[in-house]
């Protein structure tokens, strides 16, 4: 069945790139946010390098990376619900293809695009945005893949409960974007009111941000075992949940 999996993954990547708006939303948007924000902030960086140690040096690349992961998930939710509504999932099931293979192919497409977008971000950053710090890109890419893989499982849960394709994108956005706001990226967790702090503690993106920020700043993996564990737990819970509630038609 591997042959079918590779072929389906490759065809889905090609199909995705043929849709200009979808490709821009997923690949272009995070890069654009990164570049525009970076440009606005960069003169300040050059004059006072010390100020650059805060949000611009770590926060912005992590935000851009998080946007990559979140738009991957939103795109997954949309595609799955369109495929369900159009009977494409059902047609694929009427073959010897295992249901989990169909979904795995979509996860692989998103992970591939995540890596591609990150590479684009790095290239764009090198040219236009003098971060000028040594960043462990390989480790960071791994961290981003783990993050994306984990929240893709949330995507499957959302894709299971959205009634129609029309609602997929907005519902996904409502679930995911507030998580970014509370993730500790903009406001340190400690300065949140206790109630919000408690909410942030159970949100998966909080752990994603902690992991991404840490790896970007050069932490060892051993310092973030807890974050990775939390993301794995999210994956396990959501996968178990979606095998119960996922609808094929």
């Amino acid at each position: 069945m591997m042959r079918g999996l590779w072929k389906l993954t490759w065809i889905e990547i090609k199909i995705f790139l043929r849709e200009p708006l979808g490709a821009f939303g997923t690949i272009g948007f995070p890069v654009l946010v990164f570049l525009v924000w970076g440009r606005l902030a960069s003169p300040k960086m050059v004059t006072t390098p010390v100020a650059a140690t805060g949000f611009i040096r770590v926060g912005l690349p992590v935000l851009a990376s998080l946007l990559i992961a979140v738009s991957s998930v939103l795109s997954l939710v949309t595609i799955i619900s369109i495929y369900r509504e159009g009977g494409i999932l059902k047609r694929l099931r009427a073959t010897p293809l295992r249901p989990q293979t169909i979904l795995t192919a979509h996860v692989m497409v998103k992970l591939t695009l995540t890596v591609a977008t990150l590479a684009l971000l790095v290239i764009a950053g090198k040219r236009y945005y003098p971060v000028g710090v040594q960043v462990p890109f390989f480790a960071f890419a791994m961290a981003l893949l783990i993050t994306t893989w984990s929240i893709l499982s949330i995507g499957f849960v959302i894709a299971s409960i959205v009634p129609t394709a029309r609602f997929a994108q907005p519902i996904g956005a409502i679930v995911l974007y507030p998580m970014i706001a509370l993730s500790g990226l903009f406001v340190p967790l400690e300065s949140l009111p206790p109630a919000l702090h408690a909410v942030a503690r159970v949100l998966p993106l909080t752990y994603a941000v902690s992991l991404l920020e840490g790896i970007w700043s050069g932490d060892a993996w051993s310092a973030h075992v807890g974050d990775v564990a939390a993301l794995v737990v999210v994956f396990l819970i959501c996968t178990a949940l979606s095998t119960k509630v996922f609808r094929w038609e």
Binding site: G4, E12, E19, G86, I88, K90, R91, R93
Partner: protein, 305 residues
């Protein structure tokens, strides 16, 4: 003759709605078997249970000796399926769909390019699915159903929404499938399609099968009436017609007569009567009942959706 499909006592409910109940039938090796019935009668549910896409609540199904529920992947490898109202990815190219489908089967697959040629799609091989016409999409789905050189082909409402040209072309294709020794199981609500294509037909209504036979026998059994419509100005013509054996009703309007009756000899008897009485006939035609009459008789005339 060997049974390729055996269905016995199948029941499937959705919530409190009983979709099919006590459905039993067999499909023989090498025949085109049609399941006909009004919308919502349970055609698609029955077919999808046989294909292994749905699990019946009760009853047993065997396809090629396999249980569609337990051996679903083994079964999928040997059958070809065309679903009602299916779609593909909007921007998948025709050849990519064929290529992908060919990769999904364990067994040796048919020549995709040749299939596209046979189905008149070869010039569209680089077109996106979304840019195909309805007929082209339907032919692509038939090509996909044939890519694994299946032993049984399932076609659910294969010509609904197509123009007469495409419909006839597709009928030709389906006969071609039978000529290659394959078994075809199809559903339709077009009686003309069932009559022209199917070797045997099962009529389903409210989730139950009412009768199964070849179209001619169904017509003979349920609609034995024959009608002759003729025009003559012969004297006392109506009286002559009324005494013909088998005649039940003679309607006369001006010089036009509608003679209804039953029996295979009715038409011969009418002709005999005309010549015996030296009647001058200016018009003569027979109206024979067809599957549509059987269908309306058995399933009623009320509109449903």
């Amino acid at each position: 003759m060997a049974h390729v499909i055996q269905v016995s006592g199948v029941r499937k409910t959705y919530g409190s709605t009983v979709a099919v109940d006590e459905v039993s039938f067999e499909v023989n090796q090498g025949e085109i078997f049609g399941l006909i019935g009004p919308n919502g009668a349970g055609k698609t549910t029955t077919m999808e249970c046989v294909e292994g896409l749905r699990t019946p609540d009760r009853g047993t199904i065997s396809v090629l000796g396999l249980n569609p529920f337990h051996d679903v992947y083994k079964l999928q490898d040997r059958i070809g399926v065309q679903l009602q109202q299916a779609q593909l990815q909007k921007r998948i190219k025709v050849w990519e769909a064929m290529d992908l489908w060919a990769a999904l089967y364990q067994k040796k697959t048919a020549d995709g390019e040749r299939l596209l040629e046979q189905l008149g799609l070869i010039e569209k091989r680089n077109a996106w699915f979304m840019n195909l016409s309805g007929g082209q999409k339907q032919r692509l789905f038939i090509a996909l159903a044939l890519i694994n050189d299946p032993e049984v082909v399932f076609l659910d409402e294969l010509t609904t929404g197509l123009d007469p040209q495409s419909r006839r072309a597709i009928w030709g294709l389906v006969r071609g499938i039978r000529e290659r020794g394959k078994t075809v199981f199809l559903t339709t609500h077009l009686m003309e399609e069932a009559e022209r294509l199917c070797d045997r037909v099962a009529i389903i209504e409210h989730g139950r099968i009412i009768d199964i036979d070849c179209p001619e026998s169904l017509v003979k059994r349920h609609c034995p009436e024959r009608t002759v419509v003729l025009a003559t100005d012969g004297l006392n013509a109506a009286d002559h017609f009324r005494v013909i054996p088998g005649v039940e009703e003679v309607i006369c309007s001006n010089s036009q007569f509608t003679i209804r009756g039953r029996g295979d000899d009715l038409v011969t008897e009418v002709i005999h009567c005309l010549s015996e009485n030296h009647m001058r006939v200016t018009d003569f035609r027979t109206v024979l009942p067809n599957l549509e009459d059987v269908f309306l008789k058995l399933t009623g005339r009320s509109i449903r959706d």
